[in-house]
Amino acid sequence: MSFMTTRNSPSNSTKYLKQCYKYAVNHTIAVFLLPIAISIIIQALRLGPEELLKLWRSLHFDPAHVLSISFLVILVANIYYMSRPRKVYLIDYACYLPPACYRTPYSTTLEHAKLVLKNEKVIDFQMRILERSGLGEETCLPPAVHYIPPNPTLDDGYAEAQTTIFATMDSLLKKTGLRPKDIDILVVNCSIFCPTPSLSAMIVNKYKLRSNIKSFNLGGMGCSASLISIDLARDLLQANPNSNAVVVSLEVITPNLYMGNERSMLVPNCLFRMGGAAILLSNRSQERKRAKYSLLHVVRTHKGADDRAFNCVRQVQDPEGIVGVSLSKDLMAVAGDALKTNITTIGPLVLPPSEQLLFALSFIGRKFINPKWKAYVPDFKEAFEHFCIHAGGRAVIDEMQKSLNLTAEQVEASRMTLHRFGNTSSSCLWYELSYIESKGRMKEGDRVWQIGVGSGFKCNSAVWKCMKTIKTPIDDAWATCIHRYPVHIPDVLNL
């Protein structure tokens, strides 16, 4: 079909044709009803006012009939409104800004590697990854990793968790004016570091939360766990009326530091950095006025049933017995696959009918007519104004940009987050959202698509709608540096 193959080089007439097609399909009902409405009005005008009045009287409306019909209407309306899911609002969120003394410039990284590691090949490999990583000079690592030599202990892990969580929670409480006693639901996700008592218990202890709090701690769920926590919080908010939920997403780097020589396990050292986010959700109707976003959809895709996907990000022990996270070479392919499955599910929920029809036709065509037809990638720019793609690494962002056919500006938030904060695991999406807001791009009615990918292999999406235009400047992690962004990130840094 002509409009599919001309995607890459639209001429004016094709564009016009496409616009007409879109309008026709997206406003089908209007397109059908408009002529009918016009003809009714014309008929009514032709009949004249006396004829219309006679027609009205001939209908013989009985007061009892009228009353029962209106009761029925009210009853149906009530049932409808009560059975709708509760609206979940995102009131505000805070991202962690690590102190400047945790900054890790490239030269310090190289120097520490030279002083601590014996294996030159390992040092060279890590520096090569770093040069191509897309990270800047301001990313931060926790103090235990800065030591020469690093000797991370359990206490260091706790200290890092406390620093990140408490600073972020304090920031959230200040921004929202929330009192700790008003927190009804608490969900914390942190993948590798899972102490007992849990991090959620640590928060309950520090902030003296209520004894009947519904607290959850999600461990081991990887980099996409923030949206899993949001999903859990949403479900809990459906079950509990008039409640506040706080979601805390972070990753603790200290116990993750890999001191061995396996290449597949060294990559996380180069990419993961300190970061965290705390989000306040609510289903209270009075919060509607001050909420920033409302949650429209959460779509979760799990490819763990496939062995290749299950094994592509694994915590293992290397031949020397040192524990680390191993990334397989299939990672990009698996991520692309998971994304496609997620798109297939989320597409019908968010895409306008015009894109859905095209996608359906392409799907049917590839299945039944000719498998060699190029798959139609729906134009998600029709559905969303902003995109927050997990800043897992430069390759991940490149792959997603290609798969979704996005422009450079649409992945700018992801790339700049990777540059300024590094891969902060599950909290990346919140830094990216904060970037978009700090740039003054978030307007009322804008829809945001957050995509998280992580071990499992999972691809999770959340769709938010902006409730009010967000004015700059914003008091958040980007405040001191947003004026310097966006920056140009070279393909390979000259170290």
């Binding site: 003394c101 410039p105 490239y106 310090t108 103090p143 020469i148």
Partner: protein
């Protein structure tokens, strides 16, 4: 007696990225000092409510802010095409380590000696790969029963003791107030103000001759087993020493405490060594910043060695010795120093001497440096500052430092580093023990 346990070593970086790749060249005065390093220890008493963890965190956060002004310190040494050292600004940072010591800072100060004091300020000599070697090293030692010691060691290539003290002062100011009153500046030594009119003025070759003999001289004998003695000359004692140095007040302006103390120690140490032919050789080392038009913010080496003419000075006469020192100090003028700098620049290609100590007793004048006015935090009270210019080869070193606040404007702390047997004899010397009897702060 307290032991020092090292907890951790890491790197403190600046809070902002500095201009990466910028190269700073070192001056001729810098390059001569390649084989020396400086070690300073600042002691503080802490108030009862101070939490060690909070204080360490505050110090680490404030050094991060302060290092933004010191790209030369956070950079690394590289050699240029001619094989001379330069500093490349690469943001690598400064080594910082943490330690714990037993006891309180007061009990430590009562029983410390040179060996123990140097445990509070770690120094590692240049690595095989200098590009990964930090030129500055900071150590924070918390005393378990109260008190803090901040140790700074640095390569003499980049800084003299004056600049090292302004580095610590800047850090303390940022920690206390959030800003630096006198930010450092890094640029080459200024060229001569006016062209030389060689026909008219007699060139001052005094400095050139002194430096020539050090650079071209034989390698000095390494002094084995040196010990350091620290003496506090209170305001009263210092004044009586100055009185002795100039018994006849009609002879001119009264000597500075440094002049009197230099004279005193010159006489005493010569006596202790058993010098028979008059006094031993003496060189004084003074700050030349003001003379060549630089203020204290100039970061680098700007202290000049000045040989004192001891001919005709009676071995036991402090007044004559002090007068000779005074004459040498007067001889330090703009012309002499500029001549020295120009001579050093013209005799390019010389490698630095193994030591600038030469064959003389070295007396370093740091009495004007500001060591006690900025205490990092309101809960800290400065107690004492020690300074070492290492290594000590040759005849020995005497450093004249200001005294802690409350000891009066003329009070001075003198640190004498000599071979072990000579230090012991010095303590027994009549002038030191009986006539002046300064307070012994640190036994040898």
């Amino acid at each position: 007696m307290g032991e020092v346990a090292y907890i951790s070593k890491s790197t403190a970086v600046s809070s902002k990225t500095v201009q990466l790749g910028k190269l700073y060249s070192l001056s001729v005065l810098d390059r001569l000092m390649e084989n020396h390093h400086i070690r300073m220890v600042y002691y503080f008493r802490s108030s009862a409510g101070m939490v060690a963890g909070d204080l360490i965190r505050k110090l680490k956060e404030s050094i991060t802010e302060m290092l933004v002004c010191y790209p030369v310190v956070t950079g690394r040494l590289v050699r240029n095409d001619e094989g001379k050292w330069m500093v490349k600004s690469n943001d690598a940072g400064v080594r910082i380590s943490e330690a714990r010591a037993k006891g309180s800072v007061e009990s430590w100060l009562q029983k410390v000696d040179r060996e123990k004091e140097l445990l509070l300020v770690y120094w590692e000599s240049m690595l095989h790969k200098p590009y990964f070697w930090s030129t500055f090293y900071v150590q924070l030692t918390i005393f378990e029963e109260g008190g803090l010691a901040v140790g700074l060691s640095c390569s003499h290539l980049l800084s003299d003791p004056i600049s090292a003290s302004t580095f610590i002062r800047a850090w303390a100011e940022i920690a206390l107030n959030g800003n630096i009153l006198l930010p450092p500046f890094f640029h080459p030594l200024p060229p001569r103000r006016l062209p030389i009119n060689r026909a008219q003025e007699k060139p001052n070759t005094h400095f050139i001759n002194g430096y020539k003999s050090i650079i071209e001289g034989l390698n000095p004998v390494q002094a084995h087993n040196v010990k350091t003695l620290t003496l506090l000359f209170t305001d009263q004692i210092a004044q009586s020493c100055m009185g002795l140095a100039q018994p006849n007040t009609n002879m001119g302006p009264s000597p500075s405490p440094f002049q009197a103390l230099a004279g005193l120690f010159w006489v005493c140490i010569s006596r202790v060594r058993g010098e028979r032919n008059g006094l031993m050789g003496l060189s004084i080392c003074e700050d030349a910043r003001k003379l060549i038009g630089l203020d204290k913010g100039f970061f680098g080496n700007c202290m000049v060695y000045n040989k004192v003419d001891g001919a005709g000075v009676e071995p036991n006469s402090i007044s004559q010795a002090a007068t000779a020192v005074g004459e040498a100090m007067v001889r330090m003028n703009y012309e002499g120093i500029m001549g020295l700098i120009e001579w050093l620049e013209s005799s390019n290609g010389q490698s630095p001497p193994p030591s600038m100590d030469g064959d003389d007793l070295i007396c370093i004048n740091l009495e004007d440096s500001d060591l006690y006015s900025a205490p990092f935090d309101e809960c800290l009270e400065p107690l004492h500052v020690s300074c070492y210019v290492e290594p000590v080869v040759g005849r020995g070193k005497v450093l004249v430092l200001p005294s802690p606040l409350g000891e009066g404007p003329m009070g001075r702390v003198v640190m004498v580093t000599l071979p072990e047997d000579e230090v012991v004899k010095l303590c027994e010397d009549d002038l030191i023990k009986r006539i002046f009897s300064p307070i012994i702060l640190m036994r040898a």
